[in-house]
Protein backbone atom coordinates (compact mmCIF):
# COMPACT_ATOMS: atom_id res chain seq x y z
CA UNK A 1 0.00 0.00 0.00
CA UNK A 2 1.12 3.52 -0.75
CA UNK A 3 -0.64 5.28 2.12
CA UNK A 4 1.05 7.35 4.82
CA UNK A 5 -1.15 8.09 7.84
CA UNK A 6 -0.41 11.26 9.78
CA UNK A 7 -1.68 12.42 13.16
CA UNK A 8 -2.84 14.62 14.72
CA UNK A 9 -4.66 16.75 12.16
CA UNK A 10 -4.06 19.84 14.30
CA UNK A 11 -1.89 20.61 17.28
CA UNK A 12 -1.71 23.55 19.67
CA UNK A 13 1.41 23.97 21.80
CA UNK A 14 2.61 26.66 24.13
CA UNK A 15 5.83 28.49 23.40
CA UNK A 16 8.75 26.49 24.73
CA UNK A 17 6.86 23.21 24.63
CA UNK A 18 7.50 20.09 22.58
CA UNK A 19 5.50 19.43 19.43
CA UNK A 20 5.16 15.83 18.32
CA UNK A 21 3.68 14.70 15.00
CA UNK A 22 3.38 11.04 14.11
CA UNK A 23 3.25 9.12 10.84
CA UNK A 24 2.73 5.46 10.02
CA UNK A 25 3.19 3.55 6.80
CA UNK A 26 2.52 0.08 5.44
CA UNK A 27 4.84 -0.27 2.48
CA UNK A 28 8.08 -1.84 3.72
CA UNK A 29 9.77 -0.81 0.46
CA UNK A 30 9.75 2.84 1.55
CA UNK A 31 13.33 3.93 2.15
CA UNK A 32 13.20 7.71 2.41
CA UNK A 33 11.13 9.69 4.91
CA UNK A 34 11.14 13.48 4.60
CA UNK A 35 9.18 16.09 6.50
CA UNK A 36 7.96 19.21 4.74
CA UNK A 37 7.00 22.51 6.35
CA UNK A 38 4.46 24.82 4.75
CA UNK A 39 3.68 28.37 5.81
CA UNK A 40 0.35 29.94 4.79
CA UNK A 41 0.36 31.05 1.17
CA UNK A 42 3.65 29.31 0.42
CA UNK A 43 4.74 26.04 -1.11
CA UNK A 44 6.03 23.21 1.09
CA UNK A 45 9.76 23.18 1.83
CA UNK A 46 11.92 20.28 2.93
CA UNK A 47 12.59 20.49 6.67
CA UNK A 48 14.43 17.30 7.55
CA UNK A 49 14.62 13.74 6.21
CA UNK A 50 15.73 10.31 7.36
CA UNK A 51 16.59 6.96 5.83
CA UNK A 52 15.80 3.69 7.65
CA UNK A 53 19.41 2.82 8.42
CA UNK A 54 19.31 5.23 11.40
CA UNK A 55 16.76 5.54 14.22
CA UNK A 56 17.09 9.25 14.81
CA UNK A 57 18.21 12.39 13.03
CA UNK A 58 18.51 15.79 14.66
CA UNK A 59 18.86 19.21 13.06
CA UNK A 60 18.71 22.02 15.55
CA UNK A 61 15.38 21.89 17.38
CA UNK A 62 13.93 19.37 14.91
CA UNK A 63 14.34 15.62 15.39
CA UNK A 64 13.00 12.67 13.40
CA UNK A 65 12.57 9.44 15.31
CA UNK A 66 12.24 6.31 13.18
CA UNK A 67 10.93 2.91 14.28
CA UNK A 68 11.41 0.46 11.44
CA UNK A 69 9.77 -2.52 13.15
CA UNK A 70 6.65 -0.52 13.98
CA UNK A 71 6.70 1.23 10.59
CA UNK A 72 6.34 4.59 12.27
CA UNK A 73 8.26 7.83 12.28
CA UNK A 74 7.71 11.08 14.09
CA UNK A 75 8.80 14.69 14.10
CA UNK A 76 9.71 16.33 17.41
CA UNK A 77 10.06 20.09 17.66
CA UNK A 78 11.83 21.09 20.84
CA UNK A 79 11.38 24.52 22.43
CA UNK A 80 8.55 25.28 19.99
CA UNK A 81 8.34 28.90 18.85
CA UNK A 82 5.48 30.94 17.35
CA UNK A 83 7.53 31.06 14.14
CA UNK A 84 7.17 27.27 13.92
CA UNK A 85 3.42 27.69 13.37
CA UNK A 86 2.84 26.03 10.02
CA UNK A 87 1.47 22.89 8.42
CA UNK A 88 3.77 19.90 8.53
CA UNK A 89 3.63 17.00 6.08
CA UNK A 90 5.36 13.67 6.43
CA UNK A 91 6.12 11.76 3.26
CA UNK A 92 7.68 8.53 2.07
CA UNK A 93 9.36 7.29 -1.06
CA UNK A 94 10.33 3.84 -2.27
CA UNK A 95 13.08 4.97 -4.57
CA UNK A 96 10.75 5.61 -7.48
CA UNK A 97 10.09 9.08 -8.79
CA UNK A 98 7.13 9.76 -6.56
CA UNK A 99 6.58 10.81 -2.95
CA UNK A 100 3.52 9.79 -0.94
CA UNK A 101 2.39 12.50 1.44
CA UNK A 102 0.47 12.39 4.69
CA UNK A 103 -2.56 14.66 5.02
CA UNK A 104 -0.74 17.24 7.10
CA UNK A 105 -0.74 18.62 10.65
CA UNK A 106 -1.51 22.24 11.35
CA UNK A 107 0.71 23.35 14.23
CA UNK A 108 -0.09 26.47 16.22
CA UNK A 109 2.41 27.65 18.81
CA UNK A 110 0.90 30.14 21.22
CA UNK A 111 3.14 32.88 22.63
Amino acid sequence: QQQVKQSPQSLIVQKGGISIINCAYENTAFDYFPWYQQFPGKGPALLIAIRPDVSEKKEGRFTISFNKSAKQFSLHIMDSQPGDSATYFCAASNGSEKLVFGKGTKLTVNP
Partner: protein, 114 residues
Protein backbone atom coordinates in the same frame (compact mmCIF):
# COMPACT_ATOMS: atom_id res chain seq x y z
CA UNK B 1 18.40 31.20 -8.96
CA UNK B 2 14.67 31.87 -8.98
CA UNK B 3 13.96 28.22 -8.15
CA UNK B 4 10.49 27.06 -9.17
CA UNK B 5 8.16 29.75 -10.47
CA UNK B 6 4.43 29.46 -11.15
CA UNK B 7 1.97 31.70 -12.92
CA UNK B 8 -0.67 32.89 -12.38
CA UNK B 9 -0.91 33.21 -8.59
CA UNK B 10 -4.70 33.23 -8.62
CA UNK B 11 -7.35 32.61 -11.23
CA UNK B 12 -11.13 32.37 -11.37
CA UNK B 13 -12.55 30.16 -14.11
CA UNK B 14 -16.08 29.54 -15.21
CA UNK B 15 -17.28 25.96 -15.56
CA UNK B 16 -16.25 24.60 -18.95
CA UNK B 17 -13.43 27.05 -19.54
CA UNK B 18 -9.86 25.91 -20.10
CA UNK B 19 -6.54 27.28 -18.91
CA UNK B 20 -2.86 26.48 -18.62
CA UNK B 21 -0.94 26.75 -15.38
CA UNK B 22 2.66 27.62 -16.05
CA UNK B 23 5.65 26.19 -14.19
CA UNK B 24 9.32 26.81 -14.76
CA UNK B 25 12.52 25.89 -12.91
CA UNK B 26 16.05 27.13 -13.37
CA UNK B 27 17.86 24.45 -11.37
CA UNK B 28 18.36 22.06 -14.31
CA UNK B 29 16.26 19.43 -12.54
CA UNK B 30 15.21 16.39 -14.53
CA UNK B 31 12.15 15.58 -12.45
CA UNK B 32 9.10 17.82 -12.31
CA UNK B 33 5.73 17.30 -10.66
CA UNK B 34 2.26 18.75 -10.40
CA UNK B 35 0.30 18.42 -7.17
CA UNK B 36 -3.05 19.65 -6.01
CA UNK B 37 -3.68 20.53 -2.39
CA UNK B 38 -7.15 20.46 -0.92
CA UNK B 39 -7.88 21.38 2.72
CA UNK B 40 -7.18 18.49 5.06
CA UNK B 41 -6.25 16.20 2.18
CA UNK B 42 -2.53 16.73 1.83
CA UNK B 43 -0.85 16.76 -1.56
CA UNK B 44 -2.08 14.61 -4.41
CA UNK B 45 0.16 13.96 -7.41
CA UNK B 46 -1.49 14.83 -10.73
CA UNK B 47 1.29 14.25 -13.27
CA UNK B 48 5.03 14.00 -13.23
CA UNK B 49 7.91 14.03 -15.69
CA UNK B 50 11.34 12.41 -15.51
CA UNK B 51 12.75 14.48 -18.34
CA UNK B 52 11.94 16.43 -21.47
CA UNK B 53 9.45 14.52 -23.61
CA UNK B 54 8.52 12.05 -20.87
CA UNK B 55 5.43 12.38 -18.71
CA UNK B 56 3.33 10.00 -16.65
CA UNK B 57 0.14 10.02 -14.65
CA UNK B 58 0.02 10.39 -10.92
CA UNK B 59 -2.78 9.65 -8.50
CA UNK B 60 -5.41 12.12 -9.80
CA UNK B 61 -4.80 12.83 -13.53
CA UNK B 62 -8.39 13.02 -14.77
CA UNK B 63 -9.29 16.40 -16.24
CA UNK B 64 -5.67 17.47 -16.68
CA UNK B 65 -2.95 17.23 -19.32
CA UNK B 66 0.74 18.03 -19.32
CA UNK B 67 3.62 18.38 -21.71
CA UNK B 68 7.37 18.66 -21.20
CA UNK B 69 9.10 20.05 -24.27
CA UNK B 70 12.07 21.50 -22.36
CA UNK B 71 13.88 20.70 -19.12
CA UNK B 72 12.80 24.04 -17.65
CA UNK B 73 9.05 24.12 -18.33
CA UNK B 74 6.20 21.85 -17.27
CA UNK B 75 2.77 23.40 -18.00
CA UNK B 76 -0.46 21.88 -16.69
CA UNK B 77 -3.53 22.14 -18.89
CA UNK B 78 -7.07 22.10 -17.51
CA UNK B 79 -9.70 21.26 -20.09
CA UNK B 80 -13.39 21.90 -19.40
CA UNK B 81 -12.92 23.19 -15.85
CA UNK B 82 -15.21 21.75 -13.17
CA UNK B 83 -15.90 22.92 -9.59
CA UNK B 84 -14.06 19.81 -8.35
CA UNK B 85 -10.88 21.32 -9.77
CA UNK B 86 -11.04 24.21 -7.32
CA UNK B 87 -7.79 23.78 -5.46
CA UNK B 88 -4.29 25.06 -4.90
CA UNK B 89 -1.85 23.69 -7.46
CA UNK B 90 1.83 23.26 -6.74
CA UNK B 91 4.60 22.53 -9.16
CA UNK B 92 7.80 20.94 -7.86
CA UNK B 93 11.12 19.75 -9.20
CA UNK B 94 13.92 17.48 -8.05
CA UNK B 95 17.39 16.56 -9.23
CA UNK B 96 18.00 12.92 -10.03
CA UNK B 97 20.57 11.56 -7.67
CA UNK B 98 20.10 14.06 -4.86
CA UNK B 99 17.59 11.92 -3.12
CA UNK B 100 14.24 11.40 -4.74
CA UNK B 101 12.48 12.96 -1.80
CA UNK B 102 14.15 16.36 -2.04
CA UNK B 103 11.54 18.23 -4.02
CA UNK B 104 11.55 21.99 -4.42
CA UNK B 105 8.10 23.54 -4.60
CA UNK B 106 6.84 26.64 -6.30
CA UNK B 107 4.59 29.18 -4.53
CA UNK B 108 1.38 27.70 -5.90
CA UNK B 109 -1.56 28.74 -8.07
CA UNK B 110 -4.93 29.16 -6.39
CA UNK B 111 -7.73 28.21 -8.77
CA UNK B 112 -11.42 28.83 -8.21
CA UNK B 113 -13.93 27.28 -10.62
CA UNK B 114 -17.41 28.77 -10.46
Amino acid sequence: NAGVTQTPKFRILKIGQSMTLQCAQDMNHNYMYWYRQDPGMGLKLIYYSVGAGITDKGEVPNGYNVSRSTTEDFPLRLELAAPSQTSVYFCASSYQGQGIGTQYFGPGTRLLVL
